[in-house]
């Protein structure tokens, strides 16, 4: 377990000393959302109807923006090789790296979403649902993204390839995340969507570190 804590702490420390690595996707998240009222309509009814989709799509894209860096720097400086040949379980090390990624991208998105929800005229009940769905789904985005990032780790300029690999896997999460908030706006039950997101979280938490570890070994061969 100590290697998990050490890797997590290392990831956070490195990011805090190079803040652009996690601030750029967050800035994109805030700026993109704040442009929608200007581009579409400042009218509250229109914006509140579109708010779940706007917040969810930008959250997903900002996570996608940050994924390229997940293993890239460690690959470039040789640390990834050391992680692979270490006697510690590679999935545990990768889980720690993915947790650091979520803390630096997913968690700030969750913390910023009430403010941006209010800016898009979401009421407090729906903001609560938005936070809940993001809380269930953003770890999935990091975990599933880690699989894609590990597959393309040795390929130069692979941002577009990563998007093509990962976006189809993100679509079900996007559909269930947005529909949960949208249905809540019409006072419809959202249990199904929450159960789905919870199941995807558990499934990706169990499988993603192992699949990422396998993909990394293959990529570095």
């Amino acid at each position: 377990m100590s290697i998990f804590i050490k890797t997590l702490r290392r990831g956070l420390k490195m990011a805090l000393r190079n803040p652009s690595s996690f601030l750029n996707p967050l800035l994109f998240f805030v700026i993109a959302i704040s442009l929608f009222p200007i581009a579409i309509s400042p009218e509250s009814h229109t914006l509140s109807n579109m708010a779940p989709g706007i917040i969810w799509v930008t959250a997903m894209l900002s996570v996608l923006l940050s994924l390229n860096a997940l293993f890239h720097y460690d690959y470039d400086n040789g640390v990834l090789e050391q992680m692979i040949i270490s006697h510690h379980p590679l999935p545990l090390i990768l889980l720690a790296k993915t947790t650091a990624h979520w803390i630096l991208t997913g968690l700030p998105i969750i913390l910023l979403s009430p403010l941006l929800g209010m800016a898009l005229f979401l009421d407090s009940k729906n903001i609560y649902i938005l936070i809940l769905t993001l809380f269930l789904a953003t770890p999935c985005l990091s975990l599933i993204g880690a699989i894609g990032a590990s597959l393309i780790v040795g390929i130069k300029n692979s941002g577009m390839l990563l998007s093509l690999l990962i976006l189809p896997l993100y679509i079900p999460i996007l559909i269930f995340g947005t529909s949960a908030v949208s249905q809540s706006q019409f006072n419809l039950p959202i249990d199904g969507q929450l159960y789905f997101l919870g199941s995807v979280l558990i499934l990706s938490l169990i499988t993603s570190p192992f699949v990422s570890a396998l993909a990394l070994r293959i990529s570095l061969e």
């Binding site: 050490k6 290392r10 420390k13 490195m14 460690d74 400086n77 040789g78 270490s86």
Partner: protein, 200 residues
């Protein structure tokens, strides 16, 4: 006594056959230098022995066991072309993580290791601010606290000055005198006695 056996190893990269039917044994206390032209497969061979790459054919065994074991991973220290250091972290933080990935060490030993490579005054400096030679010294300082029996060093003397090379050569000699094994690749002359040579 530790023993590494390479048996009929072949390696292909793309359409190039780098080497075929390569066999040798390395016993405790021996240092093997792998030499060869650029692209002859020195790094690929080291990576295979480290367990990073799989051979096309042949086998690698350590103490008559397969190398895909927990004990082999504990017994092996591999340092590749890249120094395995993060520029955002200090020398001591990098060394601490590197040794954590290999074998756990106390903080005082880390300080001692950096002193031995002449970088005690730089321990809290970010690695990104160091020269290439100093980065190499930080990475190689892990040798002074390694418990691993088998050292696999890919171009360890690159970017090092003559003092640095001597420090590392002495550490390799000391390791082998204590029944360790070492395989290294280098294009430079080595002042290590009883050095075995393998040309690819």
């Amino acid at each position: 006594m530790s023993k590494l056996i390479i048996n009929d190893l072949s390696c292909q990269r793309g359409y190039n056959q780098l080497f075929t039917d390569l066999s040798f044994e390395l016993h405790a206390g021996e240092v093997l230098r792998i030499s060869g032209a650029n692209g002859s497969g020195k790094t690929s061979l080291l990576k295979m022995i480290a367990g990073l790459n799989s051979p096309e054919s042949g086998s690698i065994s350590y103490n008559e066991n397969d190398i895909k074991t927990y004990q082999y991973q504990l017994d092996t220290f591999y340092l590749g072309h890249l120094p395995a250091l993060s520029p955002e972290l200090s020398c001591i933080e990098n060394l601490e993580y590197l040794t954590q990935l290999n074998n756990q060490e106390s903080k005082s030993n880390l300080d001692g290791a950096l002193s031995k490579v002449g970088l005690n005054n730089y321990k809290n400096e970010l690695v990104g601010t160091l020269s290439a030679g100093q980065k190499r010294r930080v990475a190689l300082s892990a040798l002074f606290i390694s418990h691993s029996k088998l050292w696999l060093l890919d171009e360890p003397f690159t970017a090092l000055d003559s003092d640095g090379i001597e420090i590392i050569e002495n550490q390799i000699k000391k390791h082998c005198n204590e029944d360790g094994l070492c395989i290294l690749t280098t294009h430079q002359d080595c002042k290590i006695e009883n050095l075995r040579e393998l040309s690819l």
